[in-house]
């Protein structure tokens, strides 16, 4: 106990020297607080975005392979295959969507008077069997409701097969209300252009307010989003036979872990996915959004390592000088019978006390200035990334094609010191105190009291 008491008194007795050591430790701790705060916050964001961008799998035809093969026909992924792909241990979530051009049997489309329908289907529709679609039947796409752009104003969402919801505009145009039944027709066809018109008889379970943009580039009933009849995936696909076209089916798979991409790809190939398809995640968007943060993280970690190394060297030197100055005191303590280990322990406690004081001040000040420092550094990283885009001299770092998309780079990190970061800082501080203590212990083991006292006397 007296070791601790004496050490605490020594901290005060040797004020000048300890303030100097304290300044070095404070600088190291403050830098560590800032850099670790930035690093750990960046890590959290990077992990989050990695999961977000890295987990959604896209299956698209590999254009290079198609061009090499010389065929103009892209192999098809059947609905059954898409369902089978979703039954994988690597998948945490999946979403199958379907879309068909339709025309109303007993309803009219909004803007139908303006004429025109689906351009693509219309061209195929030179044959009389094809309908001219003026509306779209969409299966399992309710994202706009989650975003709040669309909202059910009457009734409820479709839950069972052959149920649907329609926009308020479409309902008002046709005097439709919840419970009414509508008939819409879609054209299905084989590769040999054998056309089969299918009538969907759908019960309206709800009417929605539509806050989306009404048109795309052209005013056309088929493209008018008020003409979207929303239903379940099964409602659309149940009537489709394996060899039939006319329904656009989409699938989104979300991996449990982005690192499972290779294994999932192998599994898809084994389940019959044609080699012409490539299985990818959205790496480019990830790089564009997270790139500056990754740069910031690298800068902060590099800076921290440099400060830790330089700081430790300075601290060891300072401690060695301090121990040399206190050689006489150590000699007296040893002559009085204090064991080397206790002398060393006392010096270590002194260092721990100084470190603890610096830790409290360092965490306080570090956490205050971490945010502005992070902002300045991140701004620099974004500017660097931007100039790289403009110069085009870092291919692959930022995808040119993604410019103008909604995935803007992260422009601000909200730095916070969580428990984990605080523990890391305490660990580093303990390490610093121990390094300095070790320097003292190594010196002390070489001291013999008789030599010290004889030198002094």
């Amino acid at each position: 106990m007296y070791i601790f008491q004496n050490a605490l008194k020594n901290v005060v007795r040797n004020k000048g020297r300890n303030i100097l050591i304290g300044i070095i430790i404070f600088a190291i701790i403050t830098t560590t607080v800032i850099t670790l705060g930035i690093n750990n916050t960046a890590n959290g964001i990077i992990d989050d975005y990695k999961t977000r961008f890295g987990s959604e799998v896209t299956i698209t035809p590999d254009m290079q392979k198609i061009m090499k093969s010389g065929t103009s026909l892209t192999p098809r992924i059947t609905i059954e295959q898409r369902k089978e792909f979703s039954q994988s241990k690597y998948i945490k979530e999946y979403k199958l969507t379907a879309n068909a051009g339709i025309s109303g049997e007993n309803i009219k489309a909004v803007d139908e008077a303006t004429g025109g329908g689906s351009g693509t289907t219309g061209m195929v529709g030179d044959k009389s069997e094809f309908i001219n679609p003026t509306m779209q039947l969409i299966g399992n796409q309710f994202d706009d409701f989650q975003k709040g752009i669309r909202e059910i104003t009457d009734g409820k969402m479709p839950e069972n097969d052959n149920e649907c919801i329609v926009s308020k505009e479409l309902a008002e145009l046709n005097n439709l209300s919840v419970g009414d039944v509508i008939d819409v027709t879609a054209s299905l066809f084989t590769d040999d252009i054998d056309v089969r018109n299918v009538i969907y008889t759908l019960t309206i379970t709800g009417i929605y307010f539509d806050g989306t943009e009404e048109y795309g580039m052209f005013a056309n009933p088929y493209l008018n989003r008020r003409n979207e009849v929303l239903t379940t995936f099964e409602t659309i696909t149940n009537v489709v036979q394996t060899d039939e076209n006319g329904i656009t089916v989409g699938s989104r798979y979300f991996l449990k872990d982005p690192d499972m991409l290779a294994a999932f790809t192998t599994e898809l190939k084994a389940k019959g996915l044609n080699d012409i398809f490539k299985v990818t995640t959205d790496e480019n968007s990830y790089n564009r959004v997270v790139g500056p943060v990754e740069g910031l993280r690298s800068v902060s970690i590099t800076f921290m390592i440099i400060v830790l190394i330089l700081g430790s060297i300075i601290l060891i030197l300072l401690t060695s000088i301090a121990i040399r100055e206190r050689k006489y005191e150590i000699g007296v303590l040893r002559a009085m019978g204090m064991k080397k280990i206790k002398v060393a322990l006392g010096l270590w406690v002194e260092m721990l006390t100084i470190t603890a004081i610096c830790l409290v001040i360092g965490i306080g000040i570090g956490s205050i200035i971490a945010q502005p420092v992070s902002n300045v550094l991140l701004e620099g990283q974004i500017e660097n990334a931007q100039s790289d885009i403009e110069g085009g001299n870092v291919p692959g770092f930022v995808d040119m094609s993604s410019i103008g998309t909604s995935d803007e780079p992260i422009s601000k990190l909200d730095i916070s010191l969580g428990l984990h970061t605080t523990l890391q800082i305490i660990g580093i501080s303990l390490m610093l105190a121990t390094i300095a203590g070790l320097a003292a212990i190594i010196k002390i083991t070489k001291y013999e009291p008789i030599k010290i006292l004889m030198e002094r006397n």
Partner: protein, 223 residues
């Protein structure tokens, strides 16, 4: 009964050939004051450091209560068995007088709840009042520092008190006081007091006097 025994003790410094001490033998008993005299460089302080357990002899043995100092924990011996009054005081200079005494008691493992009170009493016994006791050692005069050194040597109630020129820095009055304390320690408290000195006054209070010359120790005055 002998508390400290020197058996054929020899010592030489590293890198030298000549023995500073060559086959010294002597016995020191409780309740007596011993004076060791000799010219400068005769090996008096070397002998003191060996008896204080600060160094070990090259040949021979120094026995404390029948145990060879080479074979026992000399840190414990220094902390509990012996009190040393150094010529150069060797106090913790940036601590107060009383802190020096309390620290010595702590190192020795003295189990007294009122160490500070005991330290004040001890300092008062050697002529240091409470106000002076609270001053840092660096701000004390040579005589006061010597008194603090004496108090520290006695703080853990050792069997043996060794003093290296304890009156070398003191005026006549203080010298008399210090010698009185040392004599009282031996004759009243039954300690073994060994004083290395040049002073005739010191030798005059000694029960036995040993002289060192050419590394040999010979009795000058024995009871």
């Amino acid at each position: 009964m002998s508390v400290l025994t020197l058996n054929n003790v020899s010592y030489k410094y590293e890198g030298t050939k000549k023995n500073v001490l060559a086959g010294i033998s002597a016995e020191f008993e409780m309740g007596k004051v011993y004076a060791i005299v000799g010219k400068s460089g005769s090996g008096k302080s070397t002998l003191l450091s060996l008896m204080a357990g600060l160094d070990v002899c090259v040949n021979g043995e120094i026995m404390y209560n029948g145990k060879d100092l080479k074979k026992i924990d000399r840190d414990i011996y220094r902390a509990k068995g012996i009190g040393v009054i150094f010529q150069a005081f060797n106090l913790i200079t940036n601590a107060t007088a009383v802190e020096n005494i309390v620290l010595s008691m702590n190192i020795s493992g003295v189990n007294d709840k009122n160490k500070k009170s005991y330290a004040y009493a001890l300092l008062e016994k050697v002529g240091i009042d409470c106000e002076t006791a609270e001053r840092k050692v660096l701000k004390l005069s040579g005589g006061e520092q010597q008194r603090v050194g004496i108090a520290r040597a006695l703080s853990h109630n050792p069997d043996i008190v060794i003093a290296d020129e304890p009156t070398g820095n003191l005026d006549k009055d203080t010298e008399a006081d210090v010698l009185g304390i040392l004599t009282s320690l031996a004759h009243d408290d039954g300690k073994c007091v060994i004083i290395v000195t040049h002073s005739r006054k010191v030798t005059s209070i000694a029960d036995e006097i040993w002289g060192i010359n050419d590394g040999k120790m010979i009795p000058v005055k024995q009871q």
